[in-house]
Amino acid sequence: MQESEIINIINDFLIDEFEVEEEVIQPDANLHESLDLDSLDYVDLIVVIEDKFGFKVQKEDFVDIATFNDFYKYIASKVMEKQA
């Protein structure tokens, strides 16, 4: 899976399932502030990542993710880890 494909999948579910406005999704914007996520939303983010990419994220992993770009990179690295 290419990184561009991963980014598209993530942006699609953020727009469709989390009802995020498309213009809010900017690579350098802060993920947590832009999405205004509460503790329940993180649970749903874990569910959708498992569904789309087939691996389970730990809630603690989100601590090191600041921007959308960080999020894309984190998912991409996990996907590659899985493919290797």
Partner: protein, 406 residues
Amino acid sequence: MRRVVITGIGVYSCIGKNLKEVKESLYQGKSGIGIDDLRTEMGFRSSLTGMLEKPVLKGKLGRRQRIGLAEEGEYAYLATEEALDMAGMEPDFFEKNHVGILYGNDSSAKAVIEAIDTIREKKDTTLLGSGSIFQSMNSTVTMNLATIFGLKGVNFTISGACASGSHSIGMGYLLIRSGLQEQIICGGAQEVNGYAMGSFDGIRAFSTRMETPTKASRPFDKDRDGLVPSGGAATVILESYESAVKRGASILAEVFGYGFSSNGGHISRPDVDGPVRSLSMALEQAKISAKEIDYINAHATSTPAGDGFEAQALDKVFGEHRPWVSSTKSMTGHECWMAGASEIVYSLLMMQNDFIAPNINFETPDDDTAKLNLAVETVNHNIDKFISNSFGFGGTNSSLVIGKFK
């Protein structure tokens, strides 16, 4: 004691998605019953059910508000939205007043079963997602609607089997009557899916007249062979007379009496004495005699035993007065936890529009049902006061007397 009035009603059912459609179906005697092929695949004896469109709430409610709503909660939201609109209650009113909610619901089987399937498959409870818990609890409807509408008054669910919706209105009536609450959103909701109905099917509660679905629910008819499950939601806004006047709200009706009882007998087999006591108590509370009732919305679900016992109870209480009787379940099927509330909405629509909806599919009486004055076709008739019965497993009974506000 305060007078308790009704200032708003709303409904989402298999005979219409709003009051206008439902009123038309009631007048026309239109059935909402069909076949659910999924139940046939799951090995049900009967695949008969009320047929409802799945509501689309995206665009109406935000994601967080939607994902906690189970199927019955979606119906309840729409019915409540319609009722609040009629009552003229808006978010600003909820902010400044302690409006309560008491809703009847006695299962959320689909949400529970789907969660268990996920746990078994994934072996990770996080993967249930955050909505599962709020969909799975019996109080799913009240917890979600109280949050969505920002309610600040009494807030809990009433589980009284197939009398849940009726008891919710009865309990709301008591709280307002005693001065503890000014406005309460009452109602009943019922999920419509195979998961919720498998165990009913297993005890052979359902009609198997699958070749003619719209004729399967035939309350009081000699050839009735079981109930047809159905559902949706209905909301009734109760309010103190003083509150309605202060707000300038239109008063649709007054709640005059609530009677309740328990059979103290078999868990599923009904009897005559329990319903007689509940009916008599409702009339006593209303301080009216049996002859003042113009219409009885019967509980009659189309089961061989239940309808016969109810007919005997009605004969015992109303005897020679013989008011008009019909069971709207002939059209809707048995809306279970919702039925006690929806049948108040149906009866109010009849009262507002001067007709008695027909007990469709009644062809031949038996010894018990011959004693009733059944409306087998639509009757154009004034209703000043009506009584509505709801009975449930465990022998729970509820009767409500409602009439025109004068």
